[in-house]
């Protein structure tokens, strides 16, 4: 996977085509489908902004907050092909004033925290074309 174009890994039911994120690996949750064969798939890395908000106060643990705490924006992005909406922080410290419902968004990576052995990453949503409204 190209780190400049990261993708979330989900699963898809081989029988009915339903997607799952976070990945469902045991059984399909479509009530009309009894398939247990779910394959891992890369999800679309772009989507449409459904809605957005902000976190102006520091969330409690297990959130890993930078000190001092910087407020951040949160986006709910609809992936068209998968028919799934996924939440994530908005990248680069962009605030809600940079956002508008319906705008195209893309997935980027952000460091969550590190310990002696690993750097833990998470995903962010970023307005496409590097800008905002």
């Amino acid at each position: 996977m190209d780190p400049r174009e990261p993708r979330l890994l989900g699963t898809q039911c081989r029988a009915c085509g339903t997607y799952f994120f976070p990945a469902e690996r045991t059984f399909c949750r479509n009530p009309a489908c009894d398939e247990a064969d779910l394959r891992e798939v890369e999800l679309s890395r772009t989507g449409k902004l459904w809605s957005y908000t902000s976190a102006n106060y520091k969330p409690p643990a297990p959130f890993v907050a930078k000190e001092p705490f910087e407020p951040f924006a949160i986006a709910a992005v609809e992936l068209e092909e998968e028919g799934i909406t996924i939440l994530g922080q908005v990248a680069d410290g962009l605030g809600v004033e940079a956002l508008e419902a319906g705008m195209p968004m893309e997935l980027v990576l952000r460091e969550l925290y590190q310990d002696d052995e690993h750097i833990y990453m998470t995903w962010n949503w970023k307005p496409m074309d590097g800008g905002g409204a």
Binding site: Q12, C13, C16, G17, T18, Y19, F20, F21, P22, R29, N30, P31, A32, C33, W50, S51, Y52, T53, S54, A55, N56, Y57, P59, P60, A61, P62, F63, V64, A65, F72, A73, I74, A76, E81, E82, G83, I84, T85, I86, L87, G88, Q89, V96, E100, A101, G102, L112, T122
Partner: protein
């Protein structure tokens, strides 16, 4: 066969931050409900507790905890949890026992002593738990979801922060007259808009606080009720529906929705289906309701509920509010109790408190906040992602 059960008694412990055990609050509410019903604790055949998950082990077995505190009597017991819908789960258990003929009279109790600030998930490293995961990887709190829904109303229907603030103004005005409310003070639009933004576009005063409080109900069969009273308020329906797959609206505490790639959308959305289930069961419709108690975790959510319980068409909630239809004296007052805006949330007690308010309103005992001529009312609420909760009471 009748599906009605009678509400013989209602009682509450005032909401607030009292710094005491939830057990004492619950006992006080239960004693008031028993007194209201004219019954003794020893007359109760089933005690149905609403669990609290923030008060240690006694909270997980709330039914037995309250029974022990009231004095072991040998009554049957149940303890239920369904997040914000916990109270409706307890009511549902009591009602099902009564309708099945397994008992004649039951006591339903929910009580909480709540922590300050954001609700946080249980500790440890638990990546399989969506409630833990959303905090850890994205810093998403409960107000995040309220903010997303509120912004959506602005983008789709042209709602404004002033509209949201007007919900708080209305509910605060109603709550002034409720002796059990925590906040009994009028609030102005400017107070709301001048308070700190917590989750854009929502301000501190748009979002409900967390409180201590307790509510209790004595429920009985109609036969039992006839021997004890005349014309009791009746519970005509209890809806505890789950969503129909796929639910493509983001729900607390999830990071993502179901997928619509393999299956088409259901005929009505989850939140619309909650009161719908109660209307179907009662054989009534929104036009028959004299009032509603809805779960205003945020001001904007109250507007969503207007549409989801059928008081108006999608997009018309702001107009309904502005026209005064949902204020006491209007066509269908919403949250005459003052709602969560005046109470703050005491999770396992809240759905029971909604039914206490309907009971007092239908009896004509809601002094200072009475909906004149109230004949039927509906409550609605939702426990996390999958517990529908709606109760219809009639005369």
């Amino acid at each position: 066969m009748t599906k009605e059960v009678a509400v013989l008694g209602a009682g509450m412990h005032p909401w607030g931050k009292w710094g005491q055990s939830f057990i004492g609050y619950g006992v006080k509410a239960a004693q008031d409900a028993l007194k209201d019903a004219g019954l003794r604790w020893q007359d109760i055949q089933l005690v149905a507790g609403g669990d609290t998950i923030r008060n240690g082990y006694p909270g997980y077995v709330a039914g037995a905890t309250f029974a022990q505190a009231l004095g072991w009597s040998g009554a049957k017991v149940s303890s239920s949890y369904g997040a914000c819908a916990t109270g409706a789960q307890a009511i549902s258990v009591a009602r099902a026992h009564i309708l099945a003929g397994l008992c004649d009279v039951a006591l339903v109790i929910g009580a909480d002593a709540a922590p300050k600030g954001f609700f946080a998930p249980t500790g440890g490293h638990r990546p399989e738990d969506p409630d833990w995961l959303r905090f850890h990887v994205q810093g998403i709190t409960n107000p995040t979801y309220f903010g997303l829904y509120a912004r959506r109303r602005m983008d789709v229907y042209g709602a404004t922060p002033r509209d949201f603030a007007a919900v708080k103004v209305k509910n605060a005005k109603h709550g002034v007259h409720n002796p059990n409310a925590r906040y009994k003070k009028e609030v102005q639009i400017e107070d709301v808009l001048g308070s700190a933004v917590v989750a854009d576009p929502l301000h501190l005063l748009d979002i409900c606080a967390t409180s201590d409080g307790a509510a209790a109900l004595v429920l009985s069969s109609m036969d039992f009720a006839r021997r004890h009273t005349t014309d009791p308020v009746k519970i005509a329906a209890v809806s505890t529906v789950t969503p129909v797959y796929p639910n493509t609206i983001i729900e607390m505490p999830n990071l993502s929705t179901d997928s619509s790639a393999g299956v088409g959308l259901p005929e009505i959305g989850f939140k619309e289906s909650i009161a719908h289930g109660a209307y179907e069961e009662a054989g009534l419709g929104p036009e028959d309701m004299s009032l509603a108690e809805v779960y205003d975790l945020s001001t904007a959510l109250e507007l969503d509920w207007y549409e989801q319980i059928g008081l108006c068409a999608p997009g018309d909630a702001e107009k309904l509010l502005r026209d005064g239809d949902t204020t006491i004296g209007g066509r269908v007052p919403v949250n005459p109790s003052g709602g969560l805006a005046s109470f703050g949330e005491a999770v396992p007690a809240q759905a029971i408190a909604q039914v206490c308010e309907l009971t007092w309103q239908l009896r004509g005992q809601a002094e200072g906040r009475q909906v004149e001529g109230a004949k039927a009312g509906v409550t609605v609420n939702q426990g996390l992602f999958g517990h529908g909760s709606s109760v219809i009471c009639t005369l």
